[in-house]
């Protein structure tokens, strides 16, 4: 194909008739997977972690970002860095703990090269064996080509030429800021590290899919919510906003493939759990919300407390305001992904409020929750089903495309993702229009 991409023609996007289809080869094809690495993951701003995971000089976290082992390092100079975790000599990992504090050095055990917490090369056993041309100062730990710390959220890009973080984020930046405005946000200790035997794009779809909730998660609503004496919130799609209205609006494309499902919400963040928190930490929640009103005034406090539903920072940061979830995931093959999940909550929480938030979080979220395992099961089932992709070629994602949401949540948020994905894979550019309306 002219653009050298295997993705051309794999999205059928008929805005006039309201039909949207995705060719199932995108979930199984190895060449598409390789092109995704080069054209999506290597050309995006990617979420790497939160400063609260390594808050003090000498603290560090190691993890894999887009397949690269990196060190999130808090230097002794107070600077936050993302360093490639490989010795400049002959490659060994220089840091082999998943987390630590009080580090003074990163030492490669292979030949004993030593780097400081800023990444500078400080010690080479037998250095006199090198010639005058050997430049020790140029052999510090390589930083990620681009790094941006946005209010504690650390993003990296492996594309040195990528546009600025703010430009990339487009209309998603105020949505992320709304999440972060809830307080001094921190990642709770402990992380969900899990996986799915499924293509990573299925989890993008699933993480902001309102349509599946009543079916896949019936047990959560019919058993757990009921046993707690809690009512399921209304599933009716939010009404269209009046002029200047701050009422819930439903799905909003945020340009560049970013999209949110329910913004702004004034239902109380998280809308579905407000009554749970009221039941278990009512007084503390009231105090917390009064603090928001003091800080922001009643209108903005309501918007901040309401959150933004589930939203995607393209390509793979899902933030689920209703549960304080930050989630990233990377494929290691077309049919397998590694997932990291965190709970991002305000430091201002009283112990009782934090406990209630965590109880609520765990009730739904994570590999042991009452919902996430069924998502894993469902997406693994999709992946098994895709073995028929030569006979059953297309998935349908047309729901609500003509604006008809009388039957509940639509699938615009997924179309936004797919339109950006397709543009990136074929032209290497952002999609000009990710919405359902003709430009």
């Amino acid at each position: 194909m002219a653009d050298g991409s295997n993705a051309s023609g794999l999205i059928l996007d008929d805005r006039a008739d309201g039909i949207f289809r995705v060719h199932r080869s995108v979930f199984v094809d190895k060449e598409i997977f390789e092109q995704e690495r080069a054209r999506v993951f290597d050309k995006s701003w990617l979420f790497a972690g939160h400063v609260s995971e390594f808050p003090n000089p000498g603290d560090f976290v190691t993890r894999s970002v887009a397949g690269r082992p990196v060190i999130l390092a808090h230097g002794d100079d107070g600077q936050i860095r993302v360093l490639m975790n490989t010795c400049r000599h002959r490659g060994n990992l220089v840091c082999r703990e998943h987390k630590g504090s009080g580090a003074e050095f990163f030492r490669c055990f292979y030949h004993g090269w030593i780097y400081d917490t800023r990444g500078a090369l400080k010690g080479i056993p037998g250095e006199e064996a090198y010639s005058d041309a050997f430049d020790r100062d140029a052999l510090g730990l390589e930083p990620a080509p681009r790094m941006h710390n946005h209010r504690g959220c650390v993003f990296v890009s492996f594309d040195p030429e990528i546009e600025s973080f703010a430009r990339y984020m487009a209309d998603a930046l105020p949505v992320l800021d709304n999440t972060l405005d809830l307080g001094q946000m921190e990642f709770v200790q402990g992380q969900f590290k899990y996986s799915m035997r499924a293509n990573w794009k299925l989890l993008v779809e699933n993480s902001m899919d309102g349509y599946h909730a009543d079916h896949t998660h019936e047990r959560f609503f019919a058993h757990w919510m009921k046993s707690e004496g809690l009512a399921r919130g209304s599933r009716a799609a939010p009404p269209p906003p009046g002029p200047g209205s701050d009422a819930p609006r439903g799905t909003v494309p945020l340009r560049n493939g970013h999209v949110t499902t329910y913004y702004p919400s004034s239902q109380g963040r998280p809308a579905v759990n407000r009554s749970y928190l009221e039941k278990h930490a009512g007084e503390d929640l009231e105090k917390f919300n009064a603090g928001l009103v003091d800080r922001y005034g009643p209108d903005r406090a309501r918007k901040v407390a309401g959150g933004a539903g589930n939203y995607l920072i393209f390509p793979n940061l899902m933030i689920i305001d209703g549960w304080f979830v930050f989630r990233t995931f990377y494929p290691t093959s077309p049919d397998y992904m590694e997932i990291n999940g965190w709970a991002c909550m305000p430091k201002e929480d009283s112990p009782a409020l934090r406990r209630a938030r965590l109880d609520w979080y765990l009730a739904f979220q994570g590999p042991g929750g009452f919902a996430t395992p069924d998502d894993v099961e469902g997406l693994e089932g999709c992946q098994m089903g895709f073995a028929t992709h030569k006979e059953v070629e297309w998935s349908d994602i047309s729901r609500g495309m003509k604006g008809n949401l009388a039957g509940g949540p639509g699938e615009l948020q997924m179309r936004v993702f797919w339109r950006e994905w397709h543009a990136r894979m074929t032209s290497g550019q952002h999609a000009e229009n990710t919405g359902d309306q003709e430009a």
Binding site: Q189, K193, S227, R354, D359, E380
Partner: protein, 171 residues
């Protein structure tokens, strides 16, 4: 080989009695008799906990992220959900096999016996075999010749739930 016994007031309890209890529990789990399994717990104060794979030992589920932190109300709901047919991750049910060994009575805390055991639990599902490996930490209250579970803390040795993906059954 000596038989381990705990300090007073549980000095007469042998490791064999504890093992019998744990082996019977494992059998209930593997045969999905979860109504009988949950009856093993102290119905008021019981709890079932599993920290995240990177959680420091002893972290409190009220301030750190756990995979599972069930009081009895939540555990009853978990069991009800598992038996309801609506837990798709376990419908059809996984085949599981709980292997329990290295059982030790470590001592006592109040009325409870502190018991530790190693486990490997295999889950077989859709042609995959996923081993869950770790230690059980029990608080057991002696009760009419058997025990009531006050606390069942499951600490995974796994660095991540990869490729397991989920802990949808009772480990």
């Amino acid at each position: 080989m000596t038989t381990a016994t705990a300090n007073a007031p549980h000095g007469t309890i042998t490791r064999a009695e504890v093992e019998d209890f744990l082996y019977a529990e494992a059998d209930l789990l593997d045969s999905w008799r979860l109504d009988e399994w949950i009856a093993l717990f102290d119905q008021e104060r019981g709890g079932y906990y599993m920290p995240t794979t990177d959680c420091p030992p002893g972290a409190d589920p009220g301030s750190a992220l756990y995979l599972i932190a069930d009081d009895m109300a939540k555990l009853r709901s978990r069991v009800e959900q598992l038996l309801s047919g609506l837990t798709w991750a376990e419908n059809p049910k996984s085949r599981t096999r709980h292997m329990v060994n290295n059982v030790r009575i470590l001592g006592a805390a109040g009325e409870a016996l502190l018991v530790q055991a190693n486990f490997v639990v295999y889950r077989m599902r859709f042609q995959n075999i996923d081993p869950y490996i770790g230690t059980y930490h029990y608080k057991l209250i002696p009760n009419n010749g058997t025990f009531k579970i006050l606390e069942r803390l499951v600490v995974l040795d796994l660095e991540a739930l990869r490729p397991h993906g989920k802990v949808s059954f009772i480990v």
